[in-house]
């Protein structure tokens, strides 16, 4: 099987030849090309070269043309702050006062050079791999984007205290998210990773999610012209597995803080799980620990398909050593071959 066949098989809740691995490396491309993170993301051809090298090196089953979280904010006129050894940070919010939401208009994808650079990257990657490797593009959910648009604290206040303005902000953000997602799919992306950490029960209670984030996801995902994977970016999601499945998504990115076997039981036949290696601890793993963690995850969630091994956040930290990432690939080869007869 090639990577695409492997992933499609597991998505249909059947067992492929081995457990698919999504090693979501983005920043690491800069290391491969010996460039600063800022320089690396300044040109599509750099990212294309970086992604192709990472694909070969770590034997991941996807390409990941994700640049950095503040990219979308940049399109809205926000600032990106680059540092040497970590993902770029968002600068000041673009919404200082809730009243500004009343006049907010979404940017057009074609007018934002930072976004068209990603589209160019996807087009080039597609030309290289065709349909053999899934290209996983990223869009921040309309419900989670306000964290960087206005700041987390003011956004929580808005959710509780100004429902009309929240509704207006969601309408604007949904337009942007749909256009951005569909542009990436049109450029050649196989699926959209819909990053939605605010919907996790770590951030808001389930009853509030059902009235807010879930409604936004239902409306938005219905208008995205391709498959989606909802990622809670380390947030907990076990109590809302069924609710997330009801949004029409195919995959759920899950937290290292939850038990993968419990998640698998809850998601069985409804959602494919993506996770849940601990990206923070991974920084100080040995090769042996990496193998043990891969084995643990596969033992808990591998059987019957419906599982893609990955980290729990959607991005491997810059500080994780090469040996650990290589050991993860080795361990998947060793322990991820179906049938998983070694599991007791």
């Amino acid at each position: 099987m090639n990577s695409m066949q492997r992933v499609l098989t597991t998505l249909s809740h059947k067992e492929p030849d081995r457990v698919p691995l999504f090693l979501l490396t983005a920043l690491q491309g800069a290391k491969e090309l010996d460039l600063s993170i800022e320089d690396y993301f300044s040109r599509a051809d750099y990212v294309v070269e970086g992604q192709m090298r990472l694909l070969k090196k770590y034997r991941s089953d996807c390409l990941y043309p994700f640049f950095y979280v503040p990219l979308e904010l940049e399109a809205w006129g926000g600032e990106v702050i680059f540092q040497l050894d970590c993902p770029p940070n968002t600068g000041a919010p673009i919404i200082y006062r809730p009243e500004e939401i009343d006049r907010l208009q979404p940017p057009r994808v074609t007018d934002a050079p930072c976004l068209t650079r990603v589209l160019d990257t996807i087009r080039q990657l597609k030309a290289k791999v065709g349909d053999s490797v899934p290209i996983i593009a990223v869009a921040t959910s309309p419900f989670s984007l306000p964290v960087i648009q206005m700041g987390f604290d003011r956004y929580i206040e808005l959710i509780y205290e100004q429902p009309d303005r929240l509704a207006r902000l969601m309408r604007v953000n949904e337009e942007f998210c749909v256009e951005w997602s569909n542009a990436q799919l049109a450029a050649g992306a196989t699926a959209i990773c819909y990053f939605d950490p605010v919907s996790s029960v770590t951030v808001i209670p389930r009853e509030l999610y059902l009235k807010t984030g879930q409604q936004v996801a239902k409306r938005t995902l219905a208008r995205i012209n391709g498959p989606t994977a909802t990622h809670l970016a380390s947030g907990r999601g076990l109590p809302i597995v069924d609710d997330i499945a009801a949004t029409g998504t195919a995959v759920m990115g899950v937290s290292a803080l939850e038990d993968l076997a419990e998640l698998k039981a809850a998601a069985q036949g409804k959602l494919t799980l993506l996770g849940n290696l601990n990206g923070i601890e991974m920084r100080r793993w040995t090769a042996e620990q990496a193998e043990a963690e891969v084995k643990r995850a596969i033992a808990k969630a591998g059987r019957g398909g419906g599982f893609i091994l990955s980290d729990n956040h959607g991005e491997i930290p810059w500080q994780v050593p090469d040996e650990v990432l290589l050991a993860i690939g080795d361990a998947v080869e060793r322990w991820g071959r179906y049938p998983l007869d070694w599991i007791e």
Partner: protein
């Protein structure tokens, strides 16, 4: 009193501000403001912290309840109140990254618990070292969201050691939730998983220092 704490905590978790305020006023009829803070507000916030650690309540509830408690306590125990004095000089800061929510939660709960502390906002290591010295801090609370920012705490500790500055550092934030050994690696003196942890740790340190 147990029933009052329970009802107050439930009102905070369900964001029923009217009920929480009424219960707070009821407590004030029989006790001084500092007694209400110590015997009602702090225990309720401790229970909310436990529920957060167990994963049974969400960050948004923690934030809104902390903010509301801060408003309640501010009205009866302003910064100039003598009951807020005699505490070690302390501050809270977001180091390196730009995510302020954690700091706001801890700041609110610390103030709701009767502590007075400088709010430094967001700073880099060098700027922070100078402020620690200028303000003669004894305790520093550091909030981070991103893992590289957590690693900067080691740089801060080394810089303070080089200047011979003795300072208790309490750290908190997502990276510490995912890696329980990280706080020791970066040279902190303690790590809190919740705002209630922060209050308990600072209370203990305050007893040791003063």
């Amino acid at each position: 009193m147990e029933e009052l704490i329970h009802d107050f905590r439930e009102a905070l978790e369900s964001l029923d501000q009217i009920k929480a305020k009424a219960l707070f006023q009821q407590a004030l009829r029989g006790h001084s403001p500092i007694e209400v803070v110590e015997q009602v507000v702090v225990p309720a916030l401790e229970q909310i912290g436990l529920h957060w650690n167990e994963g049974s309540i969400a960050l948004s509830q923690i934030y809104m309840s902390g903010r509301f408690c801060e408003e309640l306590v501010e009205q009866v125990l302003p910064p100039s109140d003598p009951d807020r004095k005699h505490q070690p000089r302390q501050a809270i800061v977001v180091l390196n990254d730009y995510h302020m929510l954690g700091k706001r939660i801890i700041y609110s709960v610390m103030r709701s618990s009767g502590f007075e502390l400088f709010n430094y906002g967001r700073m880099d290591v060098n700027e922070l070292v100078e402020r620690v010295i200028t303000d003669k801090l004894r305790i520093l609370l550091i909030s981070v969201l991103m893992m590289p920012s957590a690693l900067k705490i080691r740089e801060l500790r080394n810089a303070l050691d080089d200047r011979g500055i003795q300072l208790k550092i309490l750290v908190g934030g997502a990276p510490f939730q995912f890696d329980p050994l990280l706080w020791q690696e970066v040279g902190a003196d303690a790590m809190g998983l919740s705002a209630a942890d922060a209050v308990a740790i600072v209370q203990r340190w305050a007893g040791e220092i003063t």
